[in-house]
Amino acid sequence: MADVSLGPPDRDRLFGGDGAREADRAQLLLVAGLVMAVSLVTLVVLLNATIYSENVATRGIESADGEALEVRATAVGGAGELIGATNRAEPANHSEANERVESGVEDLDAEISRSYAERGGVTHLNLSSVENGSRVTGELGAVDPNASLLAGNVTRTRGFVIDVDPDSLNETDPAGAVDDAFHVDLNDSTGGSRQVYVYDGTDGNVTVAVGENGSAPTALCETPPDGRSRVAVDLTGERLGDRPCPGIWPRGLVAPDDDDYTVTLVNASSAGGEVTATARPASGDSVSTDLAATATAAVYEATIELRYRTAELRFETAVRVAPGEPDA
């Protein structure tokens, strides 16, 4: 049987001896090793925490910014659609139009308040002011073929769209457009005029050309009809069909410029389709037009005050809403 009995106590191990100094050094090294390991790990953890905190802090600011802009976009989009729908519904007079917009903004306020309350935000929307105008619509075939006043003495125009029938357009070129093509004349009271011509280019495309003061125009954009019965020429939105066409609307007639100008349809017999525009008169509530039979009272623009508040953010702004107005 193996001897497993304990031997006598080792005096050197218990009380130190010749090698006691070396044993202390080993312990020191052990402690140093542990300290180094813990220090390194702590350093890594602290560094990571710093990067993380900085990142989270930055992200917080970005998302808060986006939220305020989102509220603003919701308010502007909702109010814009409200004004558009109110005008399309052809209110009997301006006071009826204003009442509808006012109650609509209250409803929009209820919607936004309820919606953002779920996210811990408080919103308030208030209709500050309304500018009246007229919404003029008409068939090109029904207007005076020589010259027809669409809107006289106006300061602003928005949503000016002509839905032309591509087959009905006169076929011509820029040189012949002055006499032969249907065009819109924008006559600025402070001097100068701009003509926007719409005609069938020799290749069958719907072409838009722009001229100044009755001179020969320059072709700006064209689009193939592609079998469509209507192609939209958006003068204030500066689009032809579904593509942008910058340069149609003159820079001098863009807000905040408040020059009076007159919009006239010329050579209307050279094109078929419908015209729609909403304009703000220089004085009074309604614009003078030759298409009075189809002109209705309209709200041109509304100014709304918006407040949005969360625990971290306070946002307050007044926004002017005029959907379809040319960009400055």
Binding site: E22, N55, G77, A85, T86, D107, E111, S115, E118
Partner: protein, 213 residues
């Protein structure tokens, strides 16, 4: 060399071994959770920020050019689903982007934008439409326009509210002449919240949720 000298060296080695063990243990523990595109990390937060910004901008541009409104009006009142949604879907919306054209045919410009921005980059999308059920706005209901599954923990969302007018036409084939006001109650997924002469039919909050697949 005496026996005590040997023991000191052994202790030193033991100290180093202990330190290495500690560090190795911590390192292993840190590495045990693999960092994937879906795991929470500082780099992942940047990706989330980018995805949120992209989703928000996509909604803004689609709302501006009318594609968003056209997509949410692509409702077929006859069978109570979005037009041309896959027939095997047990729900109202679209489940996935099929084939090379993805969402294009069914969702028009909005679908095309989703394809270009997210689907082509292996980013999944859910689009929910949230609307109130009564004019009192007590309960909010959700209709899925696109449902590609359960979002991961790192999904981000962006929202945009679209106002639908009474005279807005449906964009579903064969229903282009139907306006929202002309539909019977319950034919459209959203209930009319506008009161009396209010020309707005309802406000629909479009919420887009994106996450990496």
């Amino acid at each position: 060399m005496s026996v005590t000298d040997d023991r000191a060296q052994a202790h030193t080695l033991e100290a180093f071994a202990a330190a290495i063990l500690l560090v190795a243990g911590l390192t292993f523990a840190l590495q045990a959770t693999a960092v994937t595109p879906l795991s929470a990390s500082t780099s992942n937060q940047h990706i989330e920020n980018q995805q949120r910004a992209v989703a928000s901008d996509l909604l803004a541009t689609s709302a501006e050019n009318g594609d968003l409104e056209a997509a949410i009006l692509r409702w077929n009142p006859d069978n109570g689903t979005f037009a041309e949604s896959p027939p095997e879907v047990d729900g109202a919306g679209y489940t996935r982007a099929d084939g090379p054209h993805g969402f294009d045919p069914a969702l028009g410009g909005f679908g095309e934008a989703l394809n270009r921005t997210f689907i082509d980059r292996q980013i999944a999308v859910n689009v929910d439409l949230r609307h109130y059920n009564t004019t009192d706005r007590i309960e909010r209901r959700t209709t899925a326009l696109i449902d590609m599954g359960e979002p991961s923990n790192n999904a981000v969302s962006a929202t945009r509210t679209v106002a639908l007018a009474d005279d807005a036409n449906l964009t579903a084939p064969d229903h282009g002449e139907s306006t929202l006001a002309s539909l019977s109650d319950g034919d459209f997924y959203a209930t009319e919240t506008g009161t009396g002469s209010d020309p707005v039919f309802a406000y629909v909050e479009v919420r887009i949720v994106v996450w990496r697949m």
